[in-house]
């Protein structure tokens, strides 16, 4: 499994820390950002392969971050990780323009599988959690 550069974005630093721990165990390089502006700076500076992002963050609107990120780097694979109820998932996935959506509380195995799928294809694709 190749090593990828993953940008984790969430306003809860504890969650970012845990995700980093998990992802580093899988051998990836992890950068953390707790707000949208910072995340966009990192995309510009570090060109990560993959980004996890919570749509609902204070400050800059999550959707805006997503759109700007895609414009900055069309190749970037984006997984939205957010607390949402089942009935609204499909709608959010379509609406946001993300490549995958994982619900909070997150299932780490599911996150793993999603990342693997991305690696397997080697490019962005529609993925249902």
């Amino acid at each position: 499994m190749s090593k990828k550069k993953i940008l984790v974005v969430d306003d809860e630093y504890s969650f970012c820390k845990s995700l980093r721990l998990f992802l580093e165990k899988s051998g990836h390089e992890v950068i953390v950002a707790t707000n949208g502006e910072h995340a966009l700076d990192i995309i510009k500076a570090e060109s990560p392969d993959l980004m996890t992002l919570d749509i609902r963050m204070p400050g800059i609107d999550g959707y805006e971050v997503l759109n700007r990120a895609k414009r900055l780097d069309p190749q970037l694979f984006i997984i939205v990780i957010t607390a949402i109820d089942l009935p609204r998932m499909e709608e959010l996935l379509e609406h946001s323009g993300a490549h995958a959506l994982i619900r909070k509380p997150i299932d780490l195995m599911e996150l793993s599988r999603t990342i693997d799928k991305f690696l397997a294809r080697g490019q962005t694709e529609e993925s249902r959690p």
Binding site: F15, S18, K104, D107
Partner: protein, 546 residues
């Protein structure tokens, strides 16, 4: 000018006046004299009896009417001014009596000088002005003569008018009476006067109108006869009880109806020189009663609407709260879960492994609760579309198919193939079916016969869905609680208790109804009625959320 009668006159001047020689060939007549002055009655009785006539007397209108029941006179002398039923009224009454056709009515007027009355207006034939007794006797004699020739009586003016003179006090009293008559005749309330024995002696036009009968038919009647049977008792009671103070019939207890109008009765006692009568005022309160009733109705509706609004407010605020809280809670849960999963990545002693697993189980449980809470609070955000219940149910059942197959649960479908589509939110209804199926699945655990039956039909603009299971049923005591939020019979950890309350809320929000039936040991049935065209929930005021 008056023409004095001719014929022989005998001015004897002696005590008794004999005008005619008895037995002179005049036929005997039956005569009734009505006058409240006993002296006048005596005078006339002696006078006429001496001539061989049969004379009866009466002191007032009521007694006269009594006498006339069995006595048919040819001539009636009627005093004009009498208490209770006046001479004029008596004449009108007599003229309405068939068996007294052709009787001569002669008015004896005390007030001829003060008031010019045309007696023929109320059906009398002649009038004598009451002056001295001597003149009275003379004029009576004249009348008796004239009575022989038909038509002769009417040609006289008022006999004796020239002998009487105006009295001031009489004029004033008459004037005063006229004023009161204007009031009595034009007031909107009806007035009835009755003797203490309950005979009607006065009725004003409004009372006659209310009772739908002319005055003449009401006078001398029994008061209680004027009202319908069911009210006679209560009216009679108030009537008897009224002694010194006015009293009224309790209109709420006894809503008296007269000719289709609701009428209020008030009783006023009148004591007058030893006489005692009761004046009854009738008020048409129909409009008042109707206004009261519709105000009450409007008030009830307002209170209902208010209750609905309050409930909606509560739900809305619970909704906002629940939504926000749910989201806030999920973040810490997320962090806990992530950390636990990371711990689980390493090899751990068995006991620790189990404990970590348990934490994950609890996290999932908490997540489910917040999900349900969010669903519950989102009732007023429906997205309406066209929904085919049959298809929707199949889709929902498909989601649980795997689990149902594992448990060998059969679903029997009895669909109406022509079921109309309904205006509804398909996500919400899907949740309804999902919850019902899941509950049924739980209820069927351990049963021998594991079936779920669904029947759809349309009826009166509604789609009726009957959902049955062959589970153990719901105890009677719990049946009316099952739709309550957080009511659950499951062990902790096995159900939030929100499933059926969500079902209930969604159905109600669509303007429908749901009922639960069960026979213990045989299963449970839920009957849902959903309107085809979107309807506001019962009682929701206009302007509520869509």
């Amino acid at each position: 000018m008056v023409k004095a009668g001719s014929r022989c006159r005998n001015r004897s001047g002696s005590g008794s006046i004999a005008l005619f020689i008895p037995g002179r060939g005049r036929p005997m007549k039956k005569i009734l004299v009505v006058d409240n002055q006993p002296m006048v009655l005596e005078l006339l009785r002696n006078l006429l009896a001496k001539e061989g006539h049969e004379v009866r007397t009466a002191e007032d209108g009521l007694s006269a009417i009594e006498v006339l029941r069995s006595f048919v006179p040819e001539i009636i002398f009627v005093d004009l001014v009498m208490p209770n039923i006046s001479g004029e009224k008596l004449c009108r009454i007599i003229r309405k009596m068939d068996h007294l056709r052709g009787v001569y009515l002669v008015i004896l007027s005390d007030i001829a000088a003060e008031e010019q009355i045309d007696v023929t207006e109320f059906g009398a034939n002649a009038c004598i002005a009451k002056g001295s007794f001597k003149m009275l006797a003379r004029h009576v004699a004249t009348i008796m003569d004239l009575a022989e020739a038909p038509g002769a009586l009417e040609q006289q003016g008022i006999l004796g008018i020239e002998e009487v003179y105006q009295r001031e006090i009489t004029k004033e009293l008459l004037s005063s009476r006229r004023h009161f008559e204007v009031i009595l005749n034009n007031m909107s309330e009806g007035i009835i006067e009755a003797t203490s024995e309950g005979r009607v002696i006065f009725v004003n036009p409004q009372a006659a109108a209310l009772l739908h009968a002319p005055e003449e038919e009401l006078l001398a009647r029994e008061l209680l006869d004027l009202f319908s049977e069911q009210f006679r008792g209560p009216i009679g009671q108030v009537f008897q009880a009224v002694q010194n103070e006015p009293a009224a019939l309790d209109n709420h207890k006894y809503p008296l109806e007269v000719s289709g109008r609701q009428v209020g009765l008030t009783f006023y006692p009148v004591r007058d020189q030893g006489h005692y009568s009761i004046i009854i005022m009738l008020r048409d309160v129909t409009e008042y009663a109707e206004a009261q009733a519709s105000m009450q109705k409007a008030l009830d509706e307002l209170q209902q609407a208010q209750a609905v609004l309050v409930r909606q407010e509560k739900l809305a605020s619970i909704g906002t709260l629940a939504s926000g809280v749910a989201h806030e809670i999920l973040n810490p849960l997320n962090i806990i879960g992530t950390i636990v999963q990371i711990l689980q990545l390493e090899e751990r002693p068995r006991e620790l492994q189990e404990q970590l697993n348990e934490i994950m189980v609890q996290i999932r449980r908490a997540t489910k609760i917040t999900d349900n809470l969010r669903m519950f609070s989102r009732q007023h955000e429906a997205e309406i579309g066209e929904v085919n219940i049959n298809t929707l149910f199949d889709k929902t059942a498909a989601l649980l198919e795997h689990d149902l197959n594992l448990d060998n649960i059969m679903i029997e479908r009895d669909y109406d193939p022509n079921l109309p589509v309904i205006e509804a939110d398909d996500d919400q209804l899907a949740q309804v079916f999902f919850n019902l199926i899941r509950n049924a699945k739980d209820a069927l655990e351990g049963r021998e016969d594991k079936r779920i039956m669904i029947h759809t039909a349309s009826q009166n603009g509604e789609v009726v869905v009957r959902f049955r299971d062959t589970g153990a049923g719901i105890p009677r005591a719990q049946l009316d609680k099952i739709f309550d939020p957080f009511f659950t019979t499951k062990d902790p950890g096995h159900g939030t208790g929100l499933g059926l309350s969500i079902v209930h809320s969604v159905v109600e929000a669509h303007g429908g109804r749901i009922e639960a039936y069960s026979q213990e040991g045989f299963g449970a049935e839920f009957v849902l009625r959903l309107p085809v065209r979107r309807r506001r929930p019962a009682g929701e005021p206009l302007g509520g959320k869509a």
